[in-house]
């Protein structure tokens, strides 16, 4: 039997969930209004763009972005179908593949960024100073999730 979390603990939990829910909805709505792909696509394209020419293995993306394996597999299908990424065979492991961003993918990511940036700024920006942000970030960093 575990001790029940303190009121403050529960409060923090609730706020994190609520903020992310609203933030996500707000951002998705903005992207949709701009006729752009979902946030998840941005995350993938950003990782791929950062990874450069040799791309990333699906299992790396899976880990970095906390996506379920089957979910990622089909998400990649859809993004690939739009021509934003390419699956290339993997030399060092016949089971695997490398996922590489295309020019079109880089382009759409850049188009998404201003919308995404505005959402982030609208939500986090207005009421927190840079000092607040540093403190907040440090406290959030202390919340460490059990890896399983």
């Amino acid at each position: 039997m575990t001790k029940t979390p303190s009121q403050k603990t529960i409060k923090v939990w609730g706020r994190i969930f609520r903020i992310q829910k609203k933030a996500l909805a707000y951002t998705e709505k903005a992207l949709k209004s701009a006729q752009l792909p979902q946030l998840a696509w941005y995350d993938i394209l950003l990782e791929l763009d950062k990874a450069g020419d040799q791309g990333l293995r699906p299992f790396e993306l899976e880990h970095d972005l906390l996506l379920p394996q089957y979910g990622l597999s089909r998400l990649l299908d859809r993004i690939e179908k739009k021509g934003f990424l390419q699956r290339v065979p993997c030399l060092e492991d016949g089971r695997g593949q490398r996922i590489v961003i295309t020019d079109k993918g880089r382009d759409i990511r850049l188009k998404m960024w201003p919308i995404y940036a505005k959402a982030i700024e609208d939500i986090i920006g207005p009421n927190l100073s840079e000092n607040d942000l540093r403190t907040l970030s440090e406290f959030l960093a202390k919340i460490d999730i059990p890896e399983e």
Copy 2:
């Protein structure tokens, strides 16, 4: 054109999303292992339980829990089908209904709580003092989401 968010802003945004994603996955997994319903069911049942005998209108739940109207409508279908809540006609508004928790619903909520509580404690608890939590909570409260 909006100014791009600061690095610190982006960091905070990223941490909030990452924490909630992991926290959600961790909690859902624990509930599933215990053969209990999803987290969303708990949230609904808690609101209903707090609301007491006269229950809540769907649009109230929708607002409180940030759920889409159609999503809630069908979520209520499923929870009702399991006998955890009841839809009763609404006297003061013929279009509406009141959602009321059942004994079985109260019971399952209580069974879910220890699992949920442990997840919250596992994730938020270990590395933050009560003082940390108060500070964190205050900063999070400053993040105020545009209501539309």
